[in-house]
């Protein structure tokens, strides 16, 4: 089926969201001791925000790489038609 690789990318996007959700709840949220002063509190807040941005970036990077892989494999398979 021609759509199978694209469905695979969709499912990968879905699975990655589930895994990253687990990472978010079990690693990012409970990260570090409960801070008692403003500097520590802000520091942990920023660290958590950076980690969330990192998780989103990982998701997009994986999607882009999977798509690039698919595009290149299809372009190398197909003959160059006269346009």
């Amino acid at each position: 089926m021609k759509l199978a690789p694209l469905i695979g990318i969709e499912v990968a996007a879905f699975v990655l969201i589930i895994i990253e959700t687990y990472v978010f709840f079990n690693i990012v949220v409970p990260l570090g001791p409960i801070p008692h002063n403003l500097v520590e509190y802000t520091g942990y807040g920023l660290l958590k925000a950076l980690l969330v941005v990192g998780l989103v970036a990982v998701w997009f990077l994986v999607m882009v790489e999977l798509t690039r892989l698919y595009t290149r494999s299809q372009l190398s398979l197909s003959p160059r038609p006269a346009s």
Partner: protein
């Protein structure tokens, strides 16, 4: 759910559906008489199709939200109607005068205003938490959630707009993802005490309008919605996601559209009006089939990715899109079940 509530829910579906079914034929005839027709560029030779149908879709959606307002008396339909109005005005302006690639997303930020302003009068309008499958709720963060909600409107509305290229594509897409949304909101309502059925009533007009429009927009199209229709669909979807508290399931449902707009934006490096793109991602062959452009510098779109697997006619291509969207909607349904039923 009592019989009266079921009746009111049915009414909030039937009214907008009938407005599209009964209102579109005379409106399309008027558009044709007024010369407001555009080329259906994927036909050989190109046919003329009336556009934009957005105004009649907007009237229908508004009628559905008015029914939901009088049936359930909440401000949620007012907020959704407000978001739809802003997106419709931006869209119809673009249909008539063509807005710049950066102007449209900036103006669409205003679509969040009704929800953000009305939450001051009805604090339960949205709950500033994200609910994840199996893991539960995040802590409430009103400011962060509200900022994300504001940004969501242009992103989602543009994602819908970019799914509007072929006969029946936007209507099939909206029908499927709004059904996934309604499924998520239904489960949310069924398993959460105090979650009003009004959230479901405001979502039904979107399904009804998209379903009615599908009858005119399916291959071969007798009507195009224009940006006024697709941006309104997107803004309503974003608003319903926020008021329905089904953010994760909704995001999964529109993954094909999110990936499509992300690929396009990253490959053309920024917001570029589609009429001004350099290399086209696809082209129409002499045999009437659509082909993916082999030029590696061409923008990567979902359609180009599908066509890289082999040339297709327009009907087959839209069928492929529908299959991909249906898969994402099934995954969204799984998320909804895992979120609310466990």
């Amino acid at each position: 759910m009592g019989l009266a509530e079921a009746g009111l829910l049915t009414l909030s579906f039937i009214v907008p559906f009938l407005v599209v079914i009964l209102g579109a034929p005379p409106y399309l005839a008027w558009l044709t008489r007024a010369g407001r027709v555009v080329d259906d560029a994927h036909k050989r030779p190109p046919t003329k199709v009336p556009s934009p149908t957005g105004p009649i879709l907007f009237v229908a959606a508004l009628a559905g939200e008015v029914v939901a307002y009088f049936a359930f008396g909440s401000l949620v339909p007012v907020a959704i109607a407000g978001a739809a109005t802003v997106a419709f005005v931006v869209g119809i302006t673009d249909d008539l005068f063509v807005l710049g690639g950066k102007t449209k997303p900036l103006l669409l930020l205003l679509a969040a205003a009704p929800i953000v302003l009305l939450v001051r009068f009805e604090s339960s309008l949205y709950n500033p938490v994200l609910t994840f499958p199996l893991l539960g709720d995040t802590a409430p963060h009103l400011i962060i959630y509200t900022l994300l909600a504001i940004v969501a409107f242009p992103i989602v509305a543009n994602a819908f707009n970019m799914m509007d290229s072929f006969n029946g594509q936007i209507s099939w897409f909206t029908v499927l993802v709004s059904l996934a949304l309604v499924f998520g909101i239904s489960l949310h309502a069924a398993y959460t005490s105090g979650f009003s059925l009004s959230r479901l009533a405001v979502a039904l007009p979107l399904v009804a309008v998209a379903l009615g429009f599908l009858l005119f927009n399916r291959y071969p199209s007798r009507a195009f919605d224009g940006d006024s229709g697709s941006l309104m669909f997107g803004a309503m979807f974003a608003g319903l996601t926020i008021t329905g508290g089904v953010e994760v399931a909704a995001m999964i449902a529109i993954v094909p559209a999110i990936l499509n707009s992300f690929y396009t934006l990253s490959s053309v490096r920024g917001f570029v009006e589609r009429r001004k793109m350099g290399a086209r991602p696809t082209y129409l062959g002499d045999d009437g089939k659509l082909y993916a452009t082999k030029d590696e510098s061409a923008p990567t779109t979902l359609i180009r990715l599908i066509l890289l697997g082999g040339a297709q006619d327009e009907k087959g291509l839209v069928r492929s899109v529908v299959i991909l969207v249906a898969v994402s909607c099934l995954l969204s349904a799984v998320i909804s079940v895992l979120t609310w039923a466990f």
